[in-house]
Amino acid sequence: MATAILEIENLSVEYHAGRRKLPVLREICLSVAAGETLGIVGESGSGKSTLGLAVLRALPANGRISAGRVLLDGVDLAQTQGATLRRLWSRSLRLIPQNPLAALNPTLKIGAQLVEAIGGRRDAAEAQAAALLARVQIADPERVMRSYPHELSGGMQQRVLIAMALHGAPRLLVLDEPTTSLDVTTEAAVIDLLADLIAERQPASLFISHNLGLVARIATRTAVLYAGEVVEIAPTTTLFQQPRHPYTQGLLRSLPHPGLRYDHHPLQPIEGAIPAPGTLPAGCVFAPRCPLADDRCRRERPPLLAIAPHHATRCHYWHRVMLDGALPAFVVPTTVPSDAPLLTTHRLSKTIAQRQSLTDIARGKPAPAVQALSEVNLTIHRNRILGIVGESGSGKTTLARCIIGLTPPSGGAIELLDIPLAPLIHQRPREHVRRLQMVLQNPQEALNPALTIGEALRRPLIRLGGLDSKTAANRVPDLLRLVKLPPEYAHRRPNQLSGGEKQRVAIARALAATPDLLVLDEAVSALDVSVQAAVLNVLADIKERTGIAYLFITHDLAVVSYLADDVVVMYRGQIVEQGPVAAVLRPPLHPYTEALLAATNPRGVRLREADATGTAPAQGCPFQPRCPRAIGEICRATPPPWREAGVGHRIRCHIPLADLQVAQTHNEPISSEH
């Protein structure tokens, strides 16, 4: 290993909350060399961001480095301040934050913000800014520099911040979940770009993420953070193949690995929750949740043991930690549903008019109307899980809301068991309302903070189950047990629950109505992997027991391949591919599906980033402008036809199926002669 640029020695950080001091980081020791990327992973609240900010000396006002040193090229950052610190900030220390929109001043143009970071003479700085934007693969730097932050897509915003972090000669780059707010396809491109730039500029980098797959792609070494402590650190491949801490092992087991299926391999989530700052247990911080823990663990805090070169773990019993052997790649048979359809949509369409800013109005731009859904036909069967995937803005949520009746479609029809549904929920008979239920994406918003969990669960029983208040109350514990929550939770209020627990309550509430179809809109996306695993298990379990159907919306293909029976791929309000999950995903046919899948593959195909303000072409294939395999004029001129690719498997593309299959398997371009 080259000499370290960054050395963190025994770093401890605490926050002040009123008169209380909350220690959040304890005795962190890390070092990062030039050009090296150190991954930092851990559940939400483990202190990852705090570490990143502490290293940059950019903690919030109530945070303080209480002990330790942060050496950057031998200079202790913890002791610098004032003008010296500002000089370091402007020259060497850089941050790429999670939420690019929030990190940009909303009322200043991009150009001005970049120029300010670069400093020096104005015209020189402007030229350099344009060059930097070009370097981060922004096609039209001039236009972007004249734009306000909100006028750019999330990916573009993040590229701007990356450009901002790259000017001069950065020595330390902290990447705090830089892609969490982005689409999978954009994420892939941004990660590629970051890897390139780190190789080029050779800063020491900290890559913070809760997404283990992502870390694996970019970090050479990875540290696992738990409750403010580094519990394991190792080269990334070692960590993933031979974790030596029960927590690392737990995280890996929670992931839905390719090839696993819900009906055969339940995930193995970590029980319990991360302790809040200030409530650390006496011995090992992980002991309360650890399957290996004994009295010693609860008494005695383990040191960070070096167990191999570059591999250290904070566990008394590291040698007992073992990852299960290689898992059998389970081939999912392509099953086709046999029974009658539960719910069908016919040419369902939805147009949404969008608002404009005054400046746009003044510039004379026409008011955009988004075709959020365009002639969507799909069928959901009993006892099956239909996954819907697609980039952000592809119309997944709109589809779900139209089905439930929360938004009226602007065209088309929905039938439940062959009976047409009224467009809006309050026009539907109560029986229809009962049969279709939905779990929303954000668990923070799903529950009314003013009502107890018990009350939240009782209401659907009363309203839709026809129970009286007392009987309903008696059924609440059953519902809680159904989603693996203790019955005592009935008396709690939402703010006393973690995100995963709230989502489980939301699921229980939706299930209380004993629906025939449960729509889950990104119901697990906001959750930590271990919590996500628990929720997925609950869903699988309930489906097996009740034969309910799910409409499962997600952008995480791993989850879809784990959980779904059938899958629908959406692009800009249209279905581009649909069929049984095994047929659609292994291998993918449609170039769009291919790109979605390839996003997790470092060498996969990449899409050009969609222009947030651009509208779909009026004719031809809507995907054509971004398609890596477009075959020329026909794609631009003619809408693609539906093609049958197998039993129940259809795709909408001009490229002949055979060509697609060949290209997919060999990962090579298709010539445009056809």
Binding site: Y148, L358, I361, P366
Partner: protein, 317 residues
């Protein structure tokens, strides 16, 4: 497009003003007392009164009176004041001009001072100087303008003899002559607004300081002052625009008390005069023009806001 938007906003504004005009008209008709009596004095006979009422159109059906008044108002014929028999429009516009002058002077004082104090307090939130500013502002908040007005007259006009106690502006006065007359009323009104503006600014600054983009700016190595000036202020002061609009509306007729204390010939004093004399038609004109100004100020504030904050999207409310 922009025209269509403006057109819609103005239509909406028209609807609001219309509702207000109806409310004003109805309330005015509920006022007890008799214009004719006020006009002719207590010595006038019944027949004379009836004749006058007929002449003023007070004996027609309410709806007719309302529509007539409204049409006249829109067309610029605001009628003849019942009491003084003078055309209303020049009178009201002249007073409005005076009130706007006072309002302008007040804003000229209150804005820099309030924003300055607010920024300082927000920047130094939690520190002793912030606490000091807060306490001072709070004490000012507690005093109604009719009290501060009297105390200021006593101090500046009688004890120190620096400023006139009264502000009956002469028609031919130059700005130099008017300025000292404006001073005390403007200071009094400023004290009412000051705390409001300063607190709002302080909240805005504190709020903006906690935004992530401030951290971005800090990590660029900018000095705190630059961050405040270039980044925080602009965003923190956006809400102040709305306050200015509201204050303008408040000042126009909210100056009732101040104008009465200082005998300042503004619209507020004219309003009390009209109420006192039961000059309904004058009263209606004053109330409605205030409403119009209030509404226009709000519209302008909205437009300004939308222009200064590129994020604001416009559309159907």
């Amino acid at each position: 497009m922009i025209l269509r938007y403006l057109f819609r906003r103005i239509l909406l504004l028209g609807a609001t003003v219309l509702v207000s005009s109806l409310i004003i008209f109805l309330i005015c008709r509920l006022l007890p007392g008799d214009v004719a009596r006020v006009l002719l004095g207590r010595e006038a006979g019944e027949a004379a009164l009836a004749a006058l009422r007929a002449e003023l159109g007070l004996d027609r059906p309410l709806l007719v009176q309302y529509l007539d008044w409204l049409r006249g108002f829109v067309l610029g014929d605001w009628g003849i004041a019942y009491s003084t028999r003078q055309p209303i429009r020049p009178l009201v516009l002249e007073r409005l001009g005076n009130s706007l002058l006072l309002a302008g002077a007040t804003l000229l004082l209150a804005l820099p001072l309030g924003i300055g104090l607010g920024v300082w307090a927000g920047w130094r939130a939690g520190k002793p100087d912030d606490a000091l500013i807060n306490v001072s502002l709070l004490s000012v908040t507690g005093l109604p303008e009719f009290v501060t007005g009297l105390l200021l007259i006593d101090l500046f006009a009688f004890r120190l003899r620096w400023l006139p106690a009264n502000s009956s502006i002469r028609p031919d006065a130059t700005l130099g002559e008017i300025a000292p007359q404006l001073a005390l009323p403007a200071i009094t009104a400023t004290l009412v607004l000051l705390a409001y503006i300063a607190r709002l600014t302080r909240t805005g600054v504190i709020n903006e300081l906690s935004q992530e983009y401030v951290r971005t700016a800090m990590l660029k190595g900018l000095t705190p002052l630059t961050i405040l000036r270039r980044h925080v202020l602009r965003n923190a002061l956006l809400p102040t625009i709305t306050v200015i609009a509201i204050s303008l509306g408040w000042l126009i007729s909210g100056l009732i008390v101040v104008e009465n204390v200082y005998n300042y010939p503004g619209i507020g004093r004219l309003l009390t005069f009209a109420i006192d004399r039961r000059d309904l038609i004058l009263l209606q004109a004053i109330a409605l023009i205030t409403v119009v100004i209030f509404a226009v100020a709000n519209l302008l504030a909205d437009l300004m806001y939308a222009l200064l904050d590129p994020r604001i999207r416009l559309g159907d409310e």
